[in-house]
C-alpha cells in the first residue's frame, strides 16, 4: 500500500504546475490559488520554524463546494494535501509537502450557531479558539479548552492536535469537549459524526478524529460543548526553595481530592525571565513557584482554599499568596502567560518540548533534565502544566551558532525518552508532526505502528492527507533503532538495516 502511494506521488510530480493551476482556477477564484514563491513563503513553516518547506501551491477556499472540488482534483492527480488552520502547530504538523497542496482553511471562519439551551456551538474549522468563547459570552457560557495560542489557533487545528490548555486538568482536552464533526473524506464524501447528545452509535470515530493530525479527513464543521462560567475563581501562588518540594505539593493537592482548574509550575530561570519581561512580582529567589487556580461555587471554594493552603504549608512552601481580587489574580497569571516571550528575550532561539509524565516523577525528571542540560551545554527553562504532569522544557539555543540546533534537537529527544522511561508519553498536547517521529519508534513497537498505518489506510488508502506526519514508517524506525538501543534490546530486529 505504501509502495503504491509512492508511485502515485511520483506521478503527481510529472504534472506541470500550469496544468494544476488551470484546473484549480476552474473551481476557485484567481486570487485563491497561490503559486509564486513570494505568496507561498508565509506557509513555509508552522510554529516549529526549524522545519521549512514550500508547497507546490497554496489554496484558499471559502466554502465547502470549493473544498470538495479541491479534494477531487487532488485525488485525481494524487497530490498530497496538507490542511492548515492558523499554522501555530509546534510539531511541524502543518508543514507543507513539497509535491503537494497547502489547503488554507482560514477563510471558513463563521460561527454557525450558538445554542444556549443545549450548551453547544457549531462552527467552521477556521474559527479561532477564543472567538468561540467570545461568541458564547453573552449567554454566560464558554468553550473550556484554552491553549495559550487561543487568540490565533483555530478549532480545526485544535481538533487535529487534541489541544489542551491551562484549564484542562479540570475541564478536559479537546477530545472531551467536541460533540460532533462534519468531515470531508479523501473520497470527497461527507462523514457526519456525533451530535448535540451524549453518545453516538457505532465506533467512537469522534475520538479517533481528534488528535489525528489532519491525516484521516478534513474537518469542515465542528460542534463543541459550552460550559457555564464558574461562579467564582481564586488564584494562589506558592513559592518553594527546591523543586522537589514543589513537586510534592502538586501530588499533595491532587491526593487530597482537590482538582484545581489550573496548576502550573515555573522554575527559577523562567521566574527570572518573566520578572525582567513584565514584573509579575514573583519571588525572585524561589527555586520554583506554583500557580494554582481554584474555581466553583462560593461555599465549595472557601473550604478548598483553606485545604490547599494547608497542603502548601505542609509541603514547606516558603511563601503562599492568595490574590485578593481579580487584578491581583491577573497579575499572577500574567507572568505565566508571558513566559514564552519572556524566555525569548533571553535567547535568539528556543525549542519547546512537550512530554507528559506521572506527577510523582516531576522532581526526578526535572533533576534529570538539569543534568542533560549541563551535559549538552544548553540552558533549559521549565514552565508547564504541573497538575497533569505535562512538561514543557524550553531549550535555549542560537540557531546561528554552529551545531546548536542539532544539539538542541538531541537534547529534546533525550528528554522525551526520559518521559517514556518513567511511564509517560512523548507528547501531551503538541502532537507528533514531523518532530517526534523518531520517538514514536521508541514508544510503540512494530505491530502497534503497523496498526496506526492500518487505521490511516481505512480512511486514506493512498496516503494523500498530510503524508509523512505523526506515524513513522517501519523503515524509519529500523534506521533510528540502529542508532538507539533501548534497554539492551534492538527494536525491530527483524527488519533490514541499511
Amino acid at each position: 500500500m505504501l509502495l503504491w502511494s509512492k508511485v502515485y506521488i511520483d506521478m503527481s510530480k510529472s504534472i506541470s504546475l500550469s496544468i494544476l493551476t488551470q484546473r484549480f482556477h476552474q473551481v476557485l477564484p484567481e486570487e485563491a490559488v497561490l503559486t509564486n514563491k513570494e505568496q507561498l513563503y508565509p506557509y513555509e513553516s508552522d510554529g516549529l520554524t526549524a522545519y521549512r518547506q514550500l508547497p507546490r501551491l497554496a489554496l484558499l477556499p471559502d466554502n465547502h463546494d470549493q473544498i470538495k472540488a479541491i479534494i477531487n482534483i487532488c485525488r485525481e492527480f494524487q497530490l498530497p494535501i496538507v490542511a492548515r488552520g492558523a499554522g501555530t502547530s509546534l510539531s511541524g504538523g502543518a508543514l507543507p509537502h513539497a509535491e503537494g497542496v497547502l489547503l488554507n482553511l482560514a477563510k471558513l471562519n463563521n460561527i454557525i450557531e450558538i445554542d444556549p439551551n443545549n450548551r453547544t456551538a457549531r462552527v467552521e474549522p477556521g474559527v479561532t479558539n477564543l472567538a468561540i468563547s467570545q461568541a458564547a459570552k453573552p449567554y454566560g457560557l464558554y468553550y473550556a479548552p484554552d491553549p495559550s495560542s487561543q487568540i490565533a489557533c483555530t478549532i480545526g487545528g485544535n481538533i487535529a492536535e487534541n489541544a489542551g490548555g491551562v484549564h484542562c486538568l479540570k475541564y478536559g482536552l479537546t477530545v472531551h469537549n467536541v460533540l460532533a464533526l462534519k468531515i470531508l473524506t479523501i473520497d470527497g464524501e461527507i462523514l457526519e459524526l456525533g451530535g448535540k447528545y451524549f453518545d453516538s452509535p457505532g465506533y467512537d470515530l469522534l475520538a479517533l478524529m481528534t488528535g489525528s493530525e489532519g491525516m484521516l479527513g478534513i474537518t469542515l464543521e465542528a460542534t463543541v460543548k459550552l460550559l457555564p462560567h464558574p461562579q467564582q475563581k481564586k488564584v494562589l501562588l506558592a513559592a518553594f526553595d527546591n523543586i522537589e518540594k514543589a513537586g510534592n505539593a502538586v501530588t499533595g493537592i491532587i491526593s487530597e481530592g482537590v482538582i484545581p482548574a489550573g496548576l502550573e509550575m515555573l522554575d527559577n530561570l523562567t521566574i527570572q525571565a518573566t520578572e525582567q519581561y513584565c514584573s509579575p512580582g514573583y519571588p525572585p529567589n524561589a527555586a520554583a513557584i506554583l500557580i494554582c487556580e481554584l474555581d466553583g461555587f462560593e461555599e465549595e471554594l472557601n473550604s478548598q482554599i483553606i485545604l490547599v493552603k494547608k497542603i502548601l504549608k505542609d509541603c514547606q512552601a516558603i511563601e503562599v499568596r492568595l490574590a485578593r481580587d481579580e487584578q491581583e489574580a491577573e497579575l499572577l497569571w500574567m507572568g505565566r502567560k508571558a513566559a514564552f516571550p519572556a524566555l525569548g528575550n533571553l535567547t535568539p532561539d528556543y525549542y519547546c518540548i512537550d512530554g507528559t509524565i506521572p506527577r510523582k516523577y516531576l522532581a526526578h525528571v526535572l533533576e534529570n533534565i538539569n543534568g542533560l542540560s549541563k551535559k549538552h551545554g544548553l540552558r533549559v527553562a521549565n514552565v508547564f502544566h504541573a497538575g497533569d504532569g505535562n512538561l514543557h522544557p524550553v531549550i535555549l539555543y542560537d540557531a546561528n551558532a554552529s551545531g546548536e540546533l542539532e544539539t538542541a534537537e538531541e537534547l529534546g529527544g533525550e528528554i522525551l525518552e526520559l518521559c517514556i522511561k518513567v511511564g509517560g508519553t512523548i507528547t501531551g498536547e503538541h502532537g507528533v508532526g514531523v518532530e517526534k517521529l523518531n520517538q514514536m519508534c521508541v514508544q510503540f513497537n512494530e505491530a502497534e505502528i503497523t496498526t496506526f498505518h492500518a487505521v490511516k489506510a481505512a480512511f486514506d488508502e493512498n496516503a494523500l492527507l498530510n503524508p509523512g506526519k505523526a506515524i513513522p514508517t517501519l523503515h524509519r524506525c529500523a534506521e533510528f533503532g540502529a542508532m538507539h538501543v533501548h534497554e539492551g534490546k534492538l527494536p525491530h530486529a527483524d527488519l533490514p538495516r541499511f
Binding site: 444556549p116 443545549n118 453547544t120 492536535e161 487534541n162 489542551g164 484542562c168 482536552l173 477530545v175 472531551h176 464524501e189 462523514l191 457526519e192 451530535g195 448535540k196 447528545y197 451524549f198 453518545d199 453516538s200 452509535p201 457505532g202 465506533y203 467512537d204 475520538a207 479517533l208 488528535g211 489525528s212 457555564p228 501530588t251 491532587i254 482537590v258 466553583g296 461555587f297 462560593e298 461555599e299 473550604s303 507528559t356 510523582k360 504532569g389 505535562n390 511511564g423 509517560g424 508519553t425 507528547t427 501531551g428 503538541h430 507528533v432 517526534k436 514514536m440 510503540f444 505491530a447 502497534e448 496498526t451 496506526f452 492500518a454 487505521v455 481505512a458 480512511f459 505523526a470 506515524i471
Partner: protein, 351 residues
C-alpha cells in the same frame, strides 16, 4: 478456560488461522446488549487483578476480567470513584465488559462518559497480536486514539486485556431533591440549571417528579437546594443506584426497552408507551411497542438516535449508520480483525 495472556493469545491466533468466530465473554452481565451472535466462547473471567493503583496519580490499571466491584472497593478506600458511575447489571460485571459496552450511569452528563476516562488499553487484535495504546497519563497525543476507539466497540476490534482508567475524587456530600413538574417544565428546568455553576451531578424525570442530585461540600449542596427548591429525599444513594442498575420500577417491563439519545433540550417525543429521562433530558428510555421504523424516524426528526436496549429480537439493534460511516466502520474492522473473528455481527450485521 483461558487464564493468562499467552492462553488468550493462543486461542485468538488459533481462531484467526481457522477463520472461526469468537464470542468474547466475562461476567455476562451485559450479554443482552447488542445483537445476538454465535461463536466459540473466549472467556476473560479469569484474567483478573489490579496491576497498578496510585491514588495520587488518579489512575488505576487492571486486567479486563477484574470484577468491577473489586475496583470500586479498592478506590473507595481512598475516597475516589469512577466518575461515570457505571451500571453493573449484575454482581459479576467486569471492567472489560464495562469498557466494551461503553455505558455510563447517572453522573455522565456532568462528569463525562467511560470513554472520557480511558487513558490506555492493552488489546489482542484479530491476528493474535498483543498491542498497547495510550498510557497512564491524562494528556497523551502520541498516535491515533486507539484506546478510546475500543470503548463501546463491543469487542469487535480487539480483545480488551488491560485497561487504565482515570479516577476522580468523591464529593464530600450528595443530596437529592424531588420537585413535581410537567414534562415540558422538567426539560426546561434541567437545562436552565445546567446553564448555571451549580454542581448538579445527576437528573432523572419519571413523568411526575424531577429528581436532581447535588454533589459538593454540605454548605454548597445546601445553598443549591435553597435555590432550586423541592423536597430532599432519603436514601439518595439507593435511589440513584436503582436508576443506574435499572432496578427502578419503570425498567421492570415486558415491553421492548429503547434507549434514545437526543439534544437535552428537546421537547417530549411523539412516541407511545411510557418513558423516563436522564442526563438533563439527553437520554430518554422508552418502554414502547412502537414500530422501530416509526420510532427511529421520529427520533431522527429531532436529531437523535435510538437503540433497542432490551427485548431485542431484532436485526437492527443500534441506529443505522450512513453509507459513508458504514464503509469506514467496515474498513476499520478489517484493519484490526482481518478475518472477522472477534464478536462478528455484535454491533451491526455488516461487520
Amino acid at each position: 478456560m483461558a487464564e493468562n495472556k499467552e492462553d488468550i493469545k493462543a486461542q485468538v491466533l488459533e481462531a484467526y488461522k481457522n477463520h472461526r468466530a469468537l464470542q468474547i465473554q466475562a461476567g455476562e452481565t451485559k450479554h443482552f446488549y447488542g445483537r445476538n451472535i454465535n461463536g466459540e466462547p473466549l472467556s476473560l473471567l479469569k484474567h483478573t487483578g489490579i496491576t497498578e493503583y496510585e491514588p495520587s496519580e488518579l489512575f488505576i490499571t487492571s486486567h479486563s476480567g477484574t470484577p468491577l466491584i473489586e475496583i470500586e472497593q479498592a478506590i473507595e478506600k481512598h475516597n475516589q470513584m469512577l466518575p461515570f458511575e457505571p451500571p453493573y447489571f449484575g454482581s459479576t460485571a467486569t471492567v472489560g465488559g464495562m469498557v466494551a459496552a461503553g455505558l455510563s450511569g447517572p453522573r455522565r452528563a456532568s462528569a463525562g462518559a467511560v470513554r472520557d476516562c480511558i487513558l490506555g488499553v492493552d488489546i489482542i487484535n484479530g491476528k493474535g497480536e498483543y498491542l498497547h495504546f495510550g498510557g497512564k497519563v491524562m494528556k497523551n497525543v502520541a498516535g491515533y486514539d486507539v484506546s478510546r476507539l475500543m470503548c463501546g466497540a463491543l469487542g469487535t476490534l480487539g480483545v480488551l486485556m488491560s485497561i487504565t482508567l482515570r479516577l476522580a475524587p468523591m464529593p464530600p456530600c450528595e443530596q437529592t431533591i424531588a420537585i413535581s413538574l410537567n414534562p415540558n417544565d422538567a426539560i426546561q428546568k434541567m437545562n436552565e440549571w445546567a446553564n448555571t455553576a451549580m454542581p448538579i451531578s445527576a437528573s432523572f424525570y419519571d413523568g411526575n417528579d424531577l429528581y436532581v442530585r447535588l454533589s459538593g461540600s454540605l454548605s454548597t449542596t445546601q445553598a443549591c437546594i435553597d435555590i432550586i427548591g423541592g423536597e430532599c429525599i432519603d436514601w439518595s444513594d439507593i435511589f440513584w443506584k436503582n436508576i443506574r442498575e435499572h432496578a427502578h420500577d419503570f425498567f421492570i417491563t415486558d415491553l421492548p426497552l429503547w434507549r434514545i439519545s437526543v439534544p437535552p433540550n428537546t421537547p417530549p417525543l411523539k412516541l407511545s408507551g411510557s418513558y423516563v429521562m436522564e442526563w438533563n433530558g439527553g437520554l430518554r428510555w422508552y418502554a414502547t411497542e412502537d414500530n422501530a421504523e416509526y420510532l427511529r424516524a421520529e427520533v431522527e426528526s429531532v436529531d437523535g438516535h435510538a437503540c433497542v436496549f432490551r427485548g431485542n429480537n431484532t436485526e437492527q439493534v443500534f441506529h443505522p449508520l450512513s453509507d459513508v460511516s458504514m464503509k469506514i466502520h467496515r474498513k476499520l474492522k478489517h484493519a484490526f480483525d482481518p478475518a472477522g473473528i472477534l464478536n462478528p455481527g455484535k454491533m451491526y450485521a455488516e461487520f
